[in-house]
Every structure is written in C-alpha cells, then in structure tokens.
C-alpha cells in the first residue's frame, strides 16, 4: 500500500428512504467543516428541487471531505452518495463498487426494511465492510436494542458497537467519523500499474462536456492523457482532472485509491456509461473491471405535448434530459389521438414520474403521458420475435403464436399484521408467493414472483396504502414467461382512442376495463350529447359507462351591464376547456390520463 492511501476512506451511505441518509450526509459534511453552517442548505447532497421535495436522491453526488482524527492524522473521506430507489439498483451497485465500505443507516424507530436489505446485499456483493449506524436516536419511539438485534439477526453484521446518532440534532457524528477511520479499510491498488478506473456516475456540463465521476483502482490519470473507455472502445483526450470538495477543484492527477472527476470532451452521458472502465489508450489494462452492464429500460410510455404546447419544445427538453441520463431514451412516435409525440423508455415507474415532473417544472411544459407499458416479447406464427412496448404496435392476433411478459422477483417487507392485505393485493396482481420469512417476530419478508406489468401500474401505491406506509418493496427482473395478455382499447363515443389502449392480462381485462370506464366517466365533462365510454377487446365490448348530456349552460340575466363579470366567467370556462383534449367529438381533460392509472382504494 502506498502511504497516501492509508489516509483515504472511500465509503457510501446506504439506507431506506426516510431513514435519514441525506440528513446524516449533511451533518458529516458540516462536521468536517467543508461547508459552513451558513452555506449549508438542508440536505446538501440532494441538489435537485424535486429530490428535496420527495426526500429521495436520484442523482449521485460525490464529495471529498477532510477529517482531522483524534489519532492526530488528517484523513480524506470520499463520500459517494447513492440513489435511493429500486429503479436505480444498477447505479447503486456501481457506486458501491467504488467504495471499500458502507455506512448502513437504520432508523432506530423503524428497523430494517426491504430496501435496506436490498442495498446491503448489493454492498455485500462488492465485498464492502458494512458499518451499521442507528439514526433518529433522539425520538422517544427509538428502540435501539431491538433494532441492533434485528440488524445482527437479519443482516448478519455485528451491531453491538454501532454508533448511535441523531442526524437531525447532530449528536454522535464525531464518534461516527472516528469509527469510519477505524472500521473502513483504506484503499489498495498500485499507482504504477496500468490505469483501471471505474465510472460510477457522470453528468453533462455545458462548458466541459461530460464530467465523469471515477474511482481509480490502479495506475493514475493526468490531464493530456489519451484514455480509452474499455467497453465502448472509444478514445478521448483528458482535458481536466479534479476532485469535488464540494465544488470542482482541478488537480494534477488522480492516483490509485482516489476518487475524482475526469473531463475528456465527451458529448453525451450515454458515451460514458456507468460501470465502464477507463484505461490509457497507450498502455491499456488487460481486462475491464467486472460488473459492467448496459441498463435496459423496463417501462415505456408515450409523452405528448398537451394542447397548445409545441412539439419542438418537448423535443428540446427531452434531448436535454437525455444528455444527462443514460438510462432514459426516447424516439418520435405518432398517435392518432394525440398527434406527434415520443415513446420514452425508463428504468421504472419512479424514473418515469421524475422525468415527467422535470418536464413540467424545470421546462415548464404541459405534457400528456400515456399508460406505462412493459416490453412484451411477441412470438409470431412464423417463429420470429418482435419486442413490443406500445400497445398500438401489437400485431394482428392471427399472426401471434404467443406473447411473453417480463416477470420480476419482488421482495416485500411488512410488519406481520399486514401480511394478509399484502397477499391480497399481490394475488390480485397475479403474484405467486415463493416464500415468506420472518425476519423478526414482527417483520416478514415476502418473496413474490410477479409480472412487471402489474407492478408498474399502481402496486406501489396499493402497498403503501394497505400498510399505512410501513411496507417496502424491492424488485428485479427475472425472466420472460408466456402469458395470456390481450390488448384492451377504449372507445369514446364509438371512436377508438389509441392513447388509452393498454396490454392487460386476460383475467384482469374485465375489472380493468370497468375501472378505466368508471374513472373516465368521473373526469370527462358532460357534452351536448351522450358520450358512451367503452372498453373492448377486439370487437367485443367488455365494459361500458355513459356520460350523460348536459342541457343547459346559459346565463339568463345580464348583470346590469357588468360585461367584465360575464367576460371573467367565460374566461374561466375557456380556461377549463384549454385543459381539454379533443378526441373526435369528445373533449377529454388532461388529467384523464393519470386518473386511469391511479390506485383506488375503493375499487
């Protein structure tokens, strides 16, 4: 080991949502004096508004901190933050691969949760030293002894001496930092060896191009070096290297064991994919680091400009988002009902919601999203295979031999009192219980085999609602499996509205059809004529509702010449109409598209 490495600690903080990861990260940054209290925004690492609002971290942030230990030495802490959601498992795993240890934050009032476990397993896969920390120790409902026992029992790591902190109050942070020095191993690797560096994140900067976050495992990288990305095979010249503390600080070079950023005039994030290995073009390493995979979109939906919104604006915004998000992609598509728009691929439902919200908030766009869909493997009678994610592209049934749908392995962790209701909602969604284990006397981990198409609709909402927020979910793709799925269409006043079409399992078609029709009845306003709403499979109508016609919409009196009042009234009416989308003869409010996806407790 080189001398300088002895004073480096590379670690991540892993935790379940709401267990206080970001707050703890804030306290650590504050304690190491990197950012003064005054500069400190709440939860420094989550720098997108959306993330702050939702209390989750989507985009990674990495920070280099200096800690003066009681042993008299100064240590460099590279705190590598990880995204906190199941949709981003691969990114989490690559971030963890950049570390030697993980600080596992467990809420002392809640105990171990499904996602905590999922992340712990990821960390174990990378052979990290796991260091449990109990947070929210200040709360009266904290039960540290029980939770410690739980950690030992469930995760199998020693928790007796786990630091007890309150990130909110800032207590116990100093002790935690000392523990990090003691427990988490220093990095290894030889700076004289051939360069091997892991890309664990990247973002796009308007001036520098793609900025790569990297952990150097072997060798060193200097400005002017010609580097090669081993999986993509492309070469680039390094224009800058540096470290984040917390803003970018340029340095001469990055050496084995260190974490920092590299710029090399790369044009888009997709060219520097997370998990790829950087080596020197002149003297490349024999093999890339293990674990690289190209992330696949699991969920697709159509995004269309809403009435009055420009197609070009939406396209520009999607392009900007794509530059920064290798997991998101889109291509143009056309819908008879919605006109020109885009088919977009996402890692999961949350990822989709985030993109849509960013379009609306950061870019101030009005968009319509269609029902999310998974990718179906359609095996045609001639033996060829077609991957279909847009219901409208499903071939004619006579040409289809069979259809396969993606299945996931879902882990659901709940307090035992909710097991019954979880089984119910899983069964409704065609889930097969693989097994069930008692983690502790009160907590159960249910392992389900489930179709992804059931997970993406409203499963998460249903889970949260049925368990009062105590249930947690983690899932990963397992395989494709033959399934009796059919295309269900929605007809408004006898006209098919393709934007509402969805692929559903045969056994669910009737209930889904009834649900969608009932929801649309709620949101579609009365017209001058009756509007039948029908769900159909092929020619067969499986559900029907009717929006009755209105008869009267007139102001009889004249308000004594108060034309302004009348004008305002009409403007209000027009405003309401603006949010409508015309399908044939029927006006449909934009919210209809989300309404048909929302979980309804009473259905």
């Amino acid at each position: 080991m080189n001398d300088y490495q002895e004073y480096i600690r590379n670690f991540s903080i892993i935790a379940h949502i709401d267990h206080g990861k970001s707050t703890l990260a804030d306290r650590i940054i504050e304690k190491t004096g990197l950012v003064s209290q005054r500069e400190m925004r709440e939860q420094f690492l989550d720098n997108m508004d959306l993330e702050r609002e939702r209390g989750i971290t989507i985009k990674l942030q990495t920070t280099r901190l200096l800690f003066h230990s009681k042993d008299g030495n100064d240590y460099v802490f590279n705190l590598i933050d990880t995204p906190g959601h199941v949709d981003f498992t691969y990114e989490v795993s690559r971030s963890l691969a950049a570390c030697e240890g993980a600080v596992l934050v467990v809420d002392a009032t809640q105990g171990v949760e499904a996602q905590t476990l999922a992340n712990v397993y990821l960390a174990m896969d990378e052979d990290l030293e796991i260091m449990p920390v109990l947070n929210k120790i200040d709360l009266p409902s904290a039960r540290p002894d029980e939770v410690k026992a739980e950690i030992e029992e469930v995760i199998g790591v020693e928790a007796e001496d786990a630091p007890m902190v309150s990130a909110k109050e800032g207590t116990g942070i100093e002790e935690l930092l000392e523990e990090i020095v003691k427990k988490i191993p220093a990095p290894k690797g030889d700076e004289k060896d051939r360069l091997k560096a892991l890309i664990f994140d990247s973002y796009y900067d308007n001036y520098k191009g793609v900025v790569i976050y990297s952990r150097i495992f072997d060798g060193a990288v200097t400005k002017g070096d010609m580097i090669r990305l081993m999986n993509s095979g492309k070469n680039y010249e390094v224009t800058e290297v540096g470290m984040y503390s917390p803003g970018p600080v340029e340095c001469d070079r990055l050496r084995a064991g260190e974490v920092g950023y590299i710029c090399a005039s790369i044009k888009q994030v997709a060219d520097a994919r997370v998990g790829d290995t950087i080596t020197l073009a002149s003297d490349p390493a024999d093999e890339p680091l293990p674990g690289y995979k190209k992330v696949q979109s699991m969920v697709y939906c159509g995004i269309y400009p809403a009435e009055g919104e420009k197609y070009e604006n939406v396209k520009d915004a999607l392009e900007k988002l794509q530059v920064n998000d290798a997991a998101f992609h889109f291509e143009p598509e056309t819908s008879t009902a919605l006109g020109f728009g885009f088919r977009c691929g996402f890692l999961g439902l949350l990822h989709m919601e985030i993109i849509v919200e960013r379009l609306e908030r950061e870019f101030d766009l009005a968009v319509i999203t269609t029902s999310p869909s998974v990718i179906y493997k359609v095996v045609l009678t001639d033996g060829s295979v077609k991957m279909v994610q847009n219901p409208s592209n499903l071939p004619d049934p006579v040409m289809i031999d069979h259809i396969e749908e993606p299945m996931v392995k879902a882990d659901i962790m709940v307090p035992k009192d909710y097991v019954g209701s979880i089984m119910e909602i899983c069964q409704e969604r065609r889930g097969k219980l693989l097994n069930m284990e008692y983690i502790t006397e009160n907590r159960v981990n249910l392992h389900y085999d489930m179709p992804l198409n059931e997970v993406i609709y409203d499963f998460f909402d249903a889970l949260k609602s049925k368990t009062r927020g105590y249930g947690s979910l983690d899932y990963e793709f397992s395989r494709y499996e033959p399934s009796k799925v059919v295309k269900m269409d929605i007809l408004l006043n006898k006209d098919l509205v393709d934007a509402f079409s969805m692929i559903v399992h045969e056994s669910k078609a009737y209930s889904r059809g009834r649900f969608v029709c009932a929801k649309l009845k709620e949101v579609i306003p009365m017209h001058q004529f009756e509007v039948p709403i029908q769900a159909s499979i092929g020619q067969k109508i499986i559900a029907r509702e009717t929006v009755r016609a209105y008869r009267k919409d007139v102001i009889a009196k004249c308000y004594g010449g108060d034309i302004s009042r009348k004008k305002k009234l009409l403007e209000k009416q027009k405003e309401g109409k603006k949010r409508m989308r015309q399908f044939g003869t029927v006006e449909v409010p934009q919210e209809a598209f989300t309404a048909v996806l929302k979980y309804d407790d009473n259905k």
Binding site: K552, D553, K557, C558, G561, D562
Partner: protein, 383 residues
C-alpha cells in the same frame, strides 16, 4: 354642427323592502324612507360630477333599476328625474324605464312617473302562481300583480315589460306555462324570461343544496320550460330578440340592447357598471366608499374595476354580447369596427364544433334556439 353620441343612462337603486330568496344582486333591505331620500340626494350629486364628462353625448335611454326603485318616495324620485334632465341632454323620445314592484307600487306613484316623463315600466311579476311567488320570497301575490298591470294601463303606460322566472324549485312545467299564458293574456309589450340561477349565498341555494328541503328543477325540465315558453310567445306575435327577452315588434328594449350591441352606457349609483369612452368600470359597491366619493364631489368609480381591454379582448366582448341577440353579430359591422374579418381572428372550426348551435347566414353569425341553451360554451370560444 357638432355630432353627438348616444348614451344610455343606468341609475341603480339598491334598496328593497326585503331580500328575495334567489337574489344575489347588489341590494339591501330597507324599511325607512330617510335612507332613500339621502341616497337620491347622493345620486343628484353624482350626476353633477358627470356633467362635464358627457359633453357631446345625448341620452336616448334611461333605466332606473334596482333593487326596487319604486320604493323611492315621490319627492326623491322627482328630484332624481329633474337632475337627470338638468345634467344630461335627454333626447326627445328617449326610452325612460323604471323598474317597479307590485308590492310597492301605488296609483299615485304611477301618475307621478307619467308626469316625470317615464314612458316604460318594467314590472317584477316573476310568476302568476302564488306558491312559486312564496318560494321566491316575493312580497306580492298573483292578484296584486294582475291588478298592478291593469292599473298601469289605466295610468296611461303603453310600454310595459313583465319579468317572469322559470326553473323555480317546486314549479312544474304546467304551472310555468300557465304563468306564461296569463302573461300573454295581459298583452304586455315586452316579456323577459329568466331561467333561475341558484347563486351561492342566497337563501334558495341554501335550501336546495345545504338543507335539501327543496329540489332543484332538472336541467332538462328547465329547458323544456324555456322552449315551450318561447314557442308560445312567438305564436302570440312576440319577437324573441334576445336569449331572455321577447317583445312585440318595435318594443324591443332600447336600453338592454345597448349592453349587447357595443353601445355606450353610464351607470350611476352604487355598484353601477359603465362602458364609457372606451373604458369599462364600476362604481364602488360599498356604500361608505360611495358616499365618501360623493362628499368629495368626485365620480364614485372603483379604481380597481377600471378595465382597459386590448383590441382582441374588445372583439371578444363584441361577439359574445352580440350573440345574446337573436340576430347575432353582423360580419360587416364587425369588420367596419375592428378593421379585420371575424373569421381571421376566430377559428371557423367553431362553427363545426358547435354544429346546429351556431349558424352563419347572410353575413349574420347567430345562435340557434338550441345554441342558446348552451350559449356560455359557445361564447367562451370568443373570449
């Protein structure tokens, strides 16, 4: 020779004996004449403050509305009319209307109105069915209404409007049609038909939607009431010239027509609206503010209400108000006024979207009778 512009004058009298159950107009229950007298004096001052502003205008219609203007004591009313003539140039043959209420009208007052030059009466009959009148909270009964119209005739009024309301809770199609028939039998020159709107804050709204002690008339019945009444009126020779108004030919209300024909009018009194010299504004609705301005000898205009609309907005107003009239909007007049063609400003697809509801024929853009039922939706296309 100087050219003059026509002007309508509206005078608001915001007092009633009691508040009717459906009323959300600006009016107060008032039991003593003192207040009415003071208010008439305030109106007189307001008129004087406008004297300069109306230079170049001549008044071709005066409408004294409320509230219940017939509550006003004789001397006060005389003062009011004197001031009107002193401060404004009232044309020979101007239409001068006063709104009256059967419960507060006397023979004596009717004669005074004649003497003051009132040549049109608008009587708030509302219904010839006593139960309906009670639900509406009206203070008169059917016989009083009947008698009052006869008395007005005897007093020499040859231009009478009666207001009728339909869609009143408990009212049936049959007793509404009976009311219309009785109205026609009395041969007023003008009949207004108002579809009752249950407005929040009114007693009737509360009884229907909060207490649920009364049932609202279903929309479909309300429309049947409307169309049946229109058919009856047309059969009796009335001209259905505006959504809520019908008149014997030549007796269409000049004053109301101003509102729908983009003509100027000046409102006087509490909360009265004006469209004057290109501006739309309202007087203060708070009595204390109104009186304060009067004491300072200033027009009591609520500065916050002044709207200076863009040309495009004015076009919208022109069209949506015009569409209230049966004849609708004339495309040539629109072009003459705004210098552009109506359908370069508005999407011609509106005609297709509301097929059967709005028509274009011989340069007139107008609502059909079916279109009048849903006029708001169509008008909203133009704002």
């Amino acid at each position: 020779m100087t050219t003059t512009n026509d002007l309508g004058l509206y005078v608001h009298v915001p007092f009633c004996r009691g508040k009717c159950s459906y009323c959300d107009f600006l009016s107060f229950a008032c039991q003593n004449d003192q207040l009415l007298k003071e208010y008439a004096r305030a109106l007189a001052v307001e008129m004087r403050t406008r004297r300069q502003d109306v230079e170049g205008y001549s008044v071709d219609s005066v409408f004294i509305g409320g509230g219940t203007p017939s509550l006003m004591p004789i001397e006060s009313f005389q003062l009011l009319m004197r001031e009107v003539r002193d401060n404004f140039h009232v044309e020979e043959g101007a239409e001068i209307t006063v709104e009256v209420n059967p419960a507060s009208l006397t023979r004596e007052k009717l004669e005074m109105y004649r003497e003051c030059g009132i040549n049109r009466l608008s009587i708030g009959v509302q219904s010839f069915d006593n139960r309906t009148l009670r639900i509406l909270g009206r203070l008169h009964d059917k016989n009083e209404a009947f008698n009052m119209i006869q008395t007005a005739r005897k007093a020499g009024f040859d231009n009478i409007n009666i207001d009728l309301i339909f869609g009143v809770p408990t009212q049936t199609l049959k007793n509404w049609i009976d009311t219309v028939r009785q109205g026609i039998f009395l041969q007023p020159e003008h009949i207004s038909l108002y579809s009752l709107q249950l407005e929040k804050g009114t007693d009737l709204y509360r009884r229907v939607y909060d207490e649920e002690s009364l049932n609202a008339v279903p929309e479909i019945v309300d429309r049947e009431m409307y169309h049946d009444a229109v058919t009856l009126l047309k059969g009796a020779g009335y001209h259905h010239y505006e959504i809520s108004n019908a008149a014997l030919p030549g007796y269409e209300s000049r004053h109301n027509t101003k509102y729908w024909s983009y003509q100027e009018y000046l409102g006087l009194g509490l909360g009265a609206s004006s469209f004057f010299r290109g501006q739309r504004f309202k007087n203060h609705e708070k009595m204390s503010r109104y009186i304060k301005a009067i004491k300072e000898n200033k027009p009591p205009v609520d500065e916050d209400s002044i709207e200076k609309y863009t040309e495009r907005e004015e076009m919208g107003i022109y069209v949506f108000t015009g569409l209230r009239k049966a004849e609708g909007v004339n495309l040539k007049e629109f072009r003459d006024r705004f210098g552009v063609d109506l359908f370069t400003v508005y999407d011609p697809a509106i005609l297709r979207r509301h097929k059967g509801m709005i028509n274009l024929y011989d340069d007139q853009l107008y609502l059909t009778e079916a279109g009048m039922d849903v006029s708001n939706r169509i008008m909203a296309e133009f704002v």
